[in-house]
């Protein structure tokens, strides 16, 4: 029954409805696949018992005609979402062993719709990273390999575990969070589709905070349609999150009608960055042609402040993080160094509990909020952030959505870029601007590079216009007809 893991969510729902298989069988086939793929280190905590119990309950619901929208669908949950009674770590030693007594709004909505939890996926510590190498629980390995060598590649980050799990067919879909590209970049690296909705679309309640004004939950799946299905369930206003928008959730699935005639797609000229590999530029150009062939008009647009986006992001996100992570002090929960002196306890707890990248960002953030530097860094960054938002709003006067590459490279080898944080931060160059502006964005796999690694294209939409983003992504998906899957997965299927 191993081929059950190859199904899309939509196909699986049909199969369950048709009684081709049960939710328990579907869960079990994924649990088996997880056992075979442990080496990917995609999960921090696997919850097969919970999955089987939930699947059993799901089968009963379906039998009595009470099935929810995602009933019986096995999902992976990024280990940044608090799950009631299941360890939640943010991939940090400081939360090792922490078990929340509450359920995040997003996961609650997924479970209310009947989905089944396979486990909690690995990530960069506190979602800080682009390679999933900063996790206390070790790095995740991308199921893809280069044609030319057998080196382990990064799945991207920070939601690397979720992306790798979806690509490796050890879950049907997964939750992620995206602060500066943490869904879109790993989706591109792993050859799957990942969607970050508009800031405020999904509740942040119960999701461990990295940078509050940027963090947004989103989805991973192998098709645009599956993403739409997951996102429809996860979205909605939550009175427990003051920044969650009180807006109706449209039927994202209904938007997927492939009709983009009359739409105008903007191509931002500032995204032609020196050093971008030729095949990525060419893929971008191809995407433009695909959309034109499907009846859309494409125009060049300008986002003049793009060059400041990364610098702006790396002031704002660490500033918020430095304050958000202050609660991990060893006093109430999580890791505590057994020191008698209060200051020693704080310092050693946090020195032991946080990894290098998290410490780096706490220090950057603390510095930029310090008196004497606040105006020069934080205030200035906020001003630039506004300008970046205004760039997009002006562009959206001319176009309905924007097409860009998702990342400036394909998946790189584990260990590469580690010596230079700035080089690592450049991974987010195409995704960060939309994050700063709070815009919805999606990455769709659109081709392979010369080494046989997947590359993604990104669609960025107007605020609250996930429908057009999904619709356009659906068109690219159809025309690109990306059918490649990692060789390791093919081997197992055989």
């Amino acid at each position: 029954m191993s081929n059950l893991t190859d199904l899309t969510i939509t196909q699986a729902i049909t199969g369950l409805d048709n009684k081709d298989f049960t939710a328990v069988e579907l869960a079990q086939s994924h649990i088996d696949a997880m056992a075979e793929n442990k080496s990917l280190n995609a999960y921090i905590t696997e919850t097969p018992d919970i999955a089987l119990r939930q699947a059993e309950a799901s089968d009963k619901r379906r039998a009595s005609g009470d099935a929810g929208a995602l009933d019986g669908i096995p999902l992976a949950i990024k280990d940044l979402f608090c799950t009631n009674g299941v360890q939640t770590t943010a991939a940090s030693r400081i939360l090792d062993g922490f078990t929340p007594q509450y359920e995040s709004t997003v996961t609650q909505k997924l479970f209310d719709a009947g989905s089944v939890m396979l486990g909690k996926t690995n990530l960069d510590e506190f979602a800080m990273g682009s390679s999933n190498t900063t996790s206390y629980y070790g790095n995740v390995i991308n199921p893809w390999k280069r044609d030319s060598d057998n080196r382990d590649l990064t799945p991207g980050g920070s939601s690397g575990g979720s992306a790798a799990a979806v690509a490796a067919r050890i879950c049907m879909g997964a939750t992620g969070t995206d602060t500066g590209g943490s869904i879109r970049q790993p989706a591109a690296f792993c050859g799957i589709t990942g969607m970050k909705p508009t800031y405020g679309r999904c509740s942040r309640w119960g999701t461990i905070a990295f940078a509050s004004s940027l963090d947004q939950a989103g989805t991973f799946a192998r098709t645009v349609e599956d993403n739409a299905l997951l996102l429809r369930t996860m979205s909605g206003h939550d009175p427990k999150d003051s920044t969650s928008a009180n807006k109706d959730v449209p039927d994202f699935l209904a938007a997927l009608d492939d009709n983009i005639k009359g739409k105008t797609i903007g191509i931002p000229k500032e995204y032609n960055i020196d050093g971008t590999p030729k095949e990525i530029s060419e893929l971008w150009q191809r995407g433009r042609e695909w959309l034109e062939n499907a009846g859309a008009k494409t125009i060049e647009v300008s986002l003049p402040h793009t060059q400041y986006a990364l610098a702006t992001y790396y002031v704002i996100a660490p500033a918020e993080a430095s304050s958000n992570l202050a609660r991990y002090d060893g006093v109430r929960y999580g890791h505590r160094a057994p020191e008698d002196d209060l200051t020693d306890m704080y310092e050693i707890t946090r020195a032991e509990g946080f990894g290098e990248e998290v410490k780096r960002r706490i220090m950057i953030g603390t510095y930029s909020l310090s008196s004497g530097y606040y105006d020069a860094y934080y205030i200035k960054a906020q001003k630039v952030r506004r300008l970046i938002s205004e760039d997009f709003m002006k562009a959206f006067e001319q176009c309905d959505a924007i097409l860009t590459p998702t990342a400036p490279s394909a998946a790189f080898a584990i260990g590469d870029n580690e010596d230079d944080p700035i080089k690592m931060y450049l991974n987010d160059v195409f995704t960060v601007p939309a994050s700063l502006a709070g815009l919805p964005g999606i990455s769709v796999p659109a081709g392979l590079d010369a080494n046989g690694l997947p590359l993604g294209l990104q669609i960025i939409g107007r605020p609250w216009d996930e429908e057009n983003v999904l619709k356009i992504a659906g068109v690219i998906e159809k025309i690109a007809n990306f059918t490649a899957i990692p060789k390791s997965v093919i081997k197992e299927a055989a």
Binding site: C82, S104, R204, I208, S213, T243, E320, R332, L369
Partner: protein, 484 residues
């Protein structure tokens, strides 16, 4: 009533500004739904948000905003319809988030002013700089274990209003009057119970010294000043300490000092060099707070009459002295009681009875006004009997004492004991005739010029009537008869 401090080299002026922290009266906390009951068992009034569990988010309690706006209106200050919550970052075990959500650059209430009443009867205006909303911290408990500190988070996240004054205060008396007036206003408004001993109202006092009229000096901030008495003591102590430093040619250090209510001294807590860099920035979990001016106007309609308005009405409409008015308005319940007694009656007489008799006897019996066995209606009834000459003022005091012990109405006591004043001139004349007949010697002496003996005759008549004879009638008839 600026009080100058005499130094060896001349006079010094004390310059004081105050920051008052007032816990908002509310069922739940500023950003969580947890209850706020005082005195509950440790860590029983704590939500996931108050304990800063991972992923928890603050949601502003709108009732808090209303309380802050009410208070802002009550202290005659500008209400800002746009304000911003900011994080004040520092580490402490009773601060679970590692930051306090407060307001920094854009507070909910801006500038204003209040009147304070000084012991010499004068009135002074003190400027208000701002009022902002913020979270309270929890409590560190150091005395439960020889080496360990325990943390009680019941207070963590409770709503506080910080009211900051301009440096307009010039003496301990003014500081006490200011704190008292703020407390009185908050209690009238029902926005803070003002209980300093329970910690629901706390004051930090900023003090500096200067030569009269010169530039402001360097200030020290005194914390832990938790009673009106301590405010006076701390200022007196600190003024002397600073003058000594200045006159020795030294410089006052800008620092935070702690008031020790046992040793009666201030001690250095931390200097400016060790001062925290709080790294304030707007809280990204909360949107800026915006509301309509029309909502503020609606709240304004619901404000009670405030102490100063009452005071002006009591002195103006009722003709009370400023002193009496101040005594009566000091608590809203007291003013309400007085007004109920005075309704339709002689207000001055009512004020006298409330202040001198009722408050006196309550005080002697350790009772509050709320525990008074005599209701305002009952006291009003007694005053009506005095006003219509049913009983004399002297008899009234006896009736009052009886009311206090029995709780009975004045009327009933007067009826029961037959205390009605005798105004029947015939009956009084008969008694006077008896007294004159019984004291021929004294009559002769009086008529011989010993005027002072008039009192003797009045006394004899009153005694004969068992105190019930109307004194005015007795006087008139006696004068007539003795004058013959």
């Amino acid at each position: 009533m600026a009080k100058l401090v005499k130094g060896e080299t001349g006079d010094w002026e004390i310059v004081i500004g105050m920051e008052i922290h007032a816990q908002v009266i509310l069922e739940s906390k500023l950003f969580s739904g947890a209850p706020t009951k005082f005195g509950a068992a440790p860590n029983t009034q704590v939500s996931l948000v108050d304990a800063a569990m991972p992923g928890m988010l603050p949601v502003l309690n709108e009732k808090c905003v209303e309380q802050a706006v009410r208070t802002g209106l009550g202290i005659n200050s500008k209400i800002n319809t746009y304000s911003v919550f900011a994080r004040k970052n520092y580490f402490y075990p009773d601060l679970p988030q590692g930051y306090q959500i407060s307001q920094f650059e854009d507070p909910i209430v801006g500038e204003g002013e209040i009147e304070i009443d000084l012991p010499d009867g004068s009135v002074k205006i003190i400027g208000i700089t701002r009022l902002h909303l913020e979270q309270d911290a929890g409590k560190s408990v150091h005395d439960q274990h020889p080496k360990k500190t325990y943390v009680d988070l019941n207070r963590s996240g409770c709503a506080l209003m910080e009211i900051v004054s301009e440096p307009d205060i010039r003496s301990p008396e003014e500081a006490i009057a200011y704190l008292s007036k703020i407390r009185m206003i908050l209690r009238y408004l029902g926005t803070c119970d003002g209980n300093m001993d329970e910690g629901s109202m706390r004051a930090d006092v900023n003090i500096s010294m200067r030569r009269p009229g010169e530039e402001l000096g360097t200030r020290a901030e005194i914390k832990n000043v938790n009673s009106l008495k301590a405010v006076g003591q701390a200022i007196d102590y600190e003024a002397v300490r600073q003058v000594e430093i200045l006159e020795d040619g030294g410089e006052v250090v800008q620092e935070t000092r702690l008031w020790d209510p046992v040793k009666l001294e201030t001690r250095s807590m931390r200097s400016k060099e060790d001062a925290h860099d709080y790294r304030y920035f707007p809280d990204p979990d909360l949107l800026p707070l915006k509301f309509e001016q029309s909502w503020v106007d609606e709240i304004k309609q619901t404000l009670p009459e405030l102490p100063d308005q009452k005071k002006h009405r009591f002195t103006g409409d009722f003709g009370l002295s400023r002193y009496d008015a101040n005594v009566l308005i000091s608590e809203r319940s007291r003013a309400d009681y007085f007004e109920a007694v005075a309704a339709g009656r002689d207000a001055k007489l009512a004020a006298n009875w409330v202040i001198n008799e009722l408050l006196g006897i309550l005080n002697k019996n350790n009772k509050t006004l709320e525990q008074s066995p005599i209701s305002a209606e009952q006291l009003g009834g007694l005053i009506a009997l005095i006003s219509d000459d049913t009983i004399s003022g002297k008899i009234a005091k006896d009736v009052f004492a009886e009311m206090f012990t029995s709780g009975k109405d004045a009327n009933a006591i007067v009826e029961e004991k037959g205390l009605k004043q005798v105004t029947d001139t015939g009956a009084i004349e008969a008694m006077i005739d008896d007294v004159i007949a019984a004291n021929p010697d004294n009559v002769a002496k009086y008529q011989g010029g010993k005027d002072k003996l008039f009192g003797f005759f009045v006394g004899q008549v009153m005694k004969k009537s068992q105190g019930k004879a109307n004194p005015a009638v007795v006087n008139n008839i006696l004068k007539e008869k003795l004058g013959e």
